[in-house]
Subunit: 210 residues, 2 copies
DNA sequence: CCTACCGATCGGTAGG
DNA sequence: CCTACCGATCGGTAGG
């Protein structure tokens, strides 16, 4: 689970500064259902009334937990990014460069394609809707995350297993695109599996050491 | 240029059914400036008043040319898709499988990354905003477009030059993602060039014939 | 957290 | 194409 950030975790009424933890407090419910609605309809198209209903409360009550709609979006993105970051970091520490890379890709794809994997998808596709201060913050989270991939690709280049070694940045972004675009076409009910996609990515981006 | 579709080309007043062609009639101005605004802010965030102002007319006048806001979105997508489809089809007919593939990728990337290449980007990233009837129509345009790529990849497999031959669909979607995601990171002012990206894609997806 | 409510803005229309 | 306008809905607030 994501740890709440300093900016968006505390309600604005001093009378009740700490939300009781646990998966069923109001804030958690709002963020979870907002993630789904933002992914399905987009940030602008999802109304505060829909968010409130999906979270099982009145629309005015949202603003007991969040200052405004954008702050909910930031919370969704922070949680998505933190979860995927943690999963991919663990994968990176798991084995040799090639095996770790495959597991990192697996974890990243799970983070955007699994059921209830809405948060990270919103992170990837709704950046435009962020106010500029929040956008800088979120961009930094993204850079931190991509730095992991950059380091992993450097390690693969060092052992001669990265096919895009001539242009590390372009090939890294090609990989990100190949993964993130799956949100648009991946259909488990048509037989797509994350494992097969990882295999394909490995064939394209990895090579035997020379 | 895109040819207007039957559904969205004719204004609703019988008194003036045919718009005079040319790049400066009202309809063309609306579509062009809407493409830019939809790309920058998203369909929902761009208001009809902004669209009208960018096209140099009053907000009510938009509805002399289009029945509603969604119809403007469809027109933007149709034009983007038609332009890129034509450019890529011409590239496909241009040479051997490998050379044609490289030119197709070049044309596709130009269609989403060049200045004023807003239409196709809107096509790629705003599908959610379409009413369901229009969505079916647009999805069909996309399928027709992707069929070209499918055929080209089949040709590359036949000559043994496609690295993802074991899973043509997955590798094709990986390619689409690697290209379309460039919208998110490509910055010509930081030295990114389409040519370098095409080279990288070729290294990843093509191989020497066996 | 709920009730009750508000000002602003939205997409769209009538009539010319 | 413009002028003038409307009903609906939006995000958000006050007070408890």
């Amino acid at each position: 689970m994501a740890k709440p950030s300093a900016e968006s975790a505390s309600p604005r009424k001093p009378g009740r500064p700490k939300a009781p933890p646990g998966p069923d407090n109001g804030r958690t419910r709002i963020v979870r259902s907002a993630a789904r609605l933002f992914r399905e309809k987009g940030f602008r198209a999802a109304t505060v009334r829909e968010l409130a209903e999906a979270a099982g409360m009145q629309s005015g009550s949202l603003f007991y937990f969040f200052r405004n709609k954008e702050e909910i979006l930031v919370a969704v993105m922070e949680e998505g990014m933190a979860d995927v970051h943690a999963a991919v970091a663990a994968a990176q520490a798991s084995g040799g460069p090639v095996a770790a890379f495959r597991l990192m890709a697996q974890r990243h794809l799970e983070g955007i394609l699994d059921r209830d994997a809405d948060h990270m998808t919103v992170m990837l596709y709704e950046t435009r809707a962020l106010p500029s201060a929040a956008e800088r913050h979120v961009r930094q989270l993204r850079r931190d995350y991509e730095a992991m991939w950059e380091a992993q690709i450097d390690a693969l280049i060092a052992v001669g297993c990265w096919r895009g070694a001539e242009s590390p940045r372009l090939s890294r972004m090609a990989l990100m695109g190949a993964m993130n675009w799956a949100v648009q076409w991946f259909r488990p009910d048509r037989g797509d599996t994350i494992e097969a996609l990882v295999d394909t990515l490995a064939q394209l981006f990895l090579k035997e050491s020379e």
